[in-house]
């Protein structure tokens, strides 16, 4: 009873940690070399020195750009409560200039408790924005514009970018423009006069290295040694965890995971699955949990389909493969039957079925989408005459054949 409660509490704690981005990225923010400190330095300089600045955050998706930015903004708002106001725009929603200005005006109104009118025209909104910038500049209040999906703002005429960056060239305004993008060449997409006004500062967010990964794992999964958990339970949990993390099989699993996608988000999804597989009766994490998690991430749907096929269906698939190897570009059921007969004649197998049985198996395969028609025009023809093609590749077929329990062919 007691143990289960502890295990449940531990599970809840770890799951809430994984879903909280500011917890995840705090250990990366300690050193002065980290992106957090650099970003904080730049923005707080702009706030205290009252100068304008612009910066671009680049990096693959899921590396924590917005999370770190939110951390920085949260700390800044705590330090200078009345001197900062934040406007957030997203390239997916607001890449059109009209929409963007309306959104800026609306957020400014909300921030300063003014009434926003939906009927305001584009000119009204832009006048409003310019005068707000001027007013905030005089009041020493910095406006921070966060432009998410920055590369989408760079489509079209880039009027919004130009007007924002141009407003920052004047003395009267006090603003910071932060662009966040996953395209590395986001600043090459800008027009030359917009690029000239942009200050060319870039912060690169890279996926974590192996050491950082280790640190992150321990940071997320270790239980705190304080009063919320019984001391013995927490110590044992952490000791077991440490043993698992040091195991070479675990390192292999993590390597496989990060071989295709090494971002933090991907790792978090994996950890979530692993933690959810934890056996509550046992109460601790095991290596098996992680193995299950990686298998569920690396599912191969077609392979699973093949495992359930009957022998005849597998025969048909193999025949189609052979036809393709012989460079026959279009074949239909009849040719497959011919090939099937050919195999039967040459190999003298006992699995020879009648034509209508084969046709039924063929239709099963069609329904399962392992094969399909090459064109949609021949609706009037019967199934036997329409050209078909394989939807699985050879390196999916072979393991499928191997893994099928009743497959007799040593292909």
């Amino acid at each position: 009873m007691e143990g289960e409660n502890q295990a449940e509490k531990a599970l809840i704690l770890i799951r809430s940690r994984i879903c909280n981005p500011s917890y995840i990225f705090t250990p990366f923010s300690d050193s002065p070399e980290s992106n957090y400190s650099k970003l904080k330095f730049i923005i707080s300089n702009s706030v205290t020195e009252a100068c304008n600045n612009s910066i671009l955050l680049l990096g693959p998706r899921g590396c924590g750009k917005i999370a770190v930015l939110n951390l920085v903004l949260r700390d800044l708002l705590a330090e200078h409560p009345d001197m900062v106001s934040v406007i957030r725009l997203n390239g997916l929603l607001h890449s059109d200039d009209n929409c963007a200005l309306k959104e800026i005006a609306r957020q400014l109104c909300v921030e300063h408790q003014l009434l926003f009118s939906k009927m305001a025209s584009f000119d009204d909104n832009s006048q409003f924005m310019i005068s707000m910038l001027r007013e905030c500049g005089l009041a020493h209040k910095t406006i921070i514009f966060v432009l998410d999906e920055f590369d989408l703002f760079a489509q079209g005429k880039q009027r919004l970018l130009y007007s924002l960056l141009d407003a920052m060239q004047s003395i009267t305004s006090q603003a910071v423009v932060i662009g966040v993008s996953c395209r590395l060449d986001a600043d090459q997409l800008l027009e030359k006069r917009v690029r000239s006004r942009f200050s060319h500062r870039k912060l690169l967010f890279l996926p974590p290295s192996k050491e950082e990964l280790q640190r992150l794992l321990e940071h997320i999964l270790s239980l705190p040694i304080d009063s919320s958990f019984s001391h013995d339970y927490a110590m044992e949990f952490n000791a077991k965890l440490h043993k698992i993390v040091g195991d070479c099989r675990f390192t292999e699993i993590v390597d496989t995971l990060s071989g295709s996608d090494s971002t933090v988000n991907h790792l978090l999804k994996f950890l979530f699955r692993a933690v959810c597989c934890m056996d509550l009766d046992f109460g601790f994490l095991t290596l098996e949990n992680f193995k299950t998690a990686i298998l569920s991430i690396q599912r191969q749907p077609k392979l699973e389909c093949l495992q359930d096929c009957s022998v005849l269906e597998l025969y048909i698939l193999v025949c189609m493969k052979r036809l393709e190897d012989k460079e026959q570009n279009s074949y239909n059921f009849n040719s497959v039957m011919k090939e099937y007969k050919g195999i039967h004649d040459s190999y003298q197998t006992s699995d020879y079925y009648a034509r209508n049985v084969c046709l039924r198996a063929f239709e099963h395969l069609l329904q399962r989408e392992l094969i399909c028609f090459t064109d949609n025009r021949g609706q009037s023809q019967s199934v036997e005459f329409r050209p078909v093609k394989l939807l699985i590749s050879s390196h999916e077929l072979y393991p499928g054949l191997k893994s099928n329990r009743s497959c007799p062919l040593a292909y």
Binding site: C51, R197, P207
Partner: protein, 508 residues
Amino acid sequence: MPSLIGNSSSALYGELDLIGSNKDKEKKSIKGEKIYEIQSKGNSTTQKRRLRSQTTRDSPISSPSKPCSPTKWKLPRRCISGSPNSSGISKESNDKLSRFSKSLQKRLSDTFLPKYSEQMNAVKEVLHVSTTPSVVVCREEEQKRVLELCKGCIEQEKAGSVYVCGCPGTGKSLSMEKVKQLLVGWAEEILEKYQPRKKISVALSPLQHLQNLFSQKKQSSGEKMMLIIVDELDYLITKDRSVLHDLFMLTTYPFSRCLLIGIANAIDLADRFLPRLQPLNCKPMVVTFRAYSKDQILKILQERLMALPYNAFQPQALELCARKVAAASGDMRKALCVCRSAIEMLEVELRDPTCNMNLVLVEKTLCGQQTAPPTEFSAKQEIDTVRVDHMAIALTKTFKSPVVDIIQSLPQHQQIILCSAVKLFRRGKKDTTVGELNRFYSDICKSVLIPQVGILELSSMCRGLSDQGLLKLGQSREDKLKRVTLQVDEADIIFALQGIRFFQNCLQ
């Protein structure tokens, strides 16, 4: 004998007169010698406001008569703090000595001690793009041309137009602002009979109204000339080019009284889009603003930094910056940006483990008031100014593209995909499909005995790479048939992966 800089105009900048305006007159009465006021440690933002209000100069267009060499500024400092040869200053400093001795702390700001954030802030501000200097150097020629034309038009009461063109960051808008201010000043001073000009900076004005205004005969409202400055003229280009035409045709009306100055980037805008103006003989005068050369950039930077009484940059650092930026684009904003980030490099370096060194320096200057030998002083100053290595780091940060870093940090399979793309495209083809890429990818994996991922995961990795701008994926209903092209240079990929032997062998 240290010679103080005798010329009055440029030295005015050294006096941030925060104590009182009567001091100004006092100083002017002192012949030929100036005292360099110490910046007080007031609120940095209020300081900023006051700095901007004090940009008075007598002849804005005249080029500064002396070459500015920042090293000269060190001499009077050394006088005050150290050597007994301060007779030049001692006369005036009697009444000021009380102020000097009052705050020993303040004396330390004679030199550039980066640990004082006010000094850093002042340097950064002077280098900020939004700070307009009161003299626009290196553009005197162009300003003169425009000014002459405008003055001529005003005197003869006829209309005229100018088209100003040039790359971004070459000082066009800045110079036109200056011209505008000068015109106002000139007109009010000399031609009092003219009423003050109505200046509009428009992007889109009610053209019809102006057209009516200019075609009417009776102008009973007096002799008012209108100066219209249109910035970013190419945004007005419509399909039938009517807006631009109408705007420039305003100058052709019989009673038109406007001076039109258009600013844009394209050099041949007037020829391409306004061919009808030629027969009417009202083609605008074209003033081209060339990109800045290395010497011009250097001069502008030094001019800006002369506002500060201390020496924050080493001359070699400034020269490196000017040379690099002039070779790249000649864009002044970039040069200012690089200088600011070099200052930040210095700040970061000093913030970290070398605070002890700063303390030592402070101690020495505190106790070595009268006897600090100049050489040691200047040696210490070398450490705390922006050096060539700071500038080099700032330059690489600005000009380097992040592609190489990103490629090196990609997960293994994505790197293999890039390699297979490189190998594929070496054969001359420039684009391929995902299916073929998959084939090459599986060949490479087989040759190195790495288990390959399936086609589904491969196409999602390709999509991730195209999000980042490394590949470009076309559209297709089927995943396998999407067209793939490389967006980065093959050389970049090879350079990024050169450290890994596996890829080296692969790419042979």
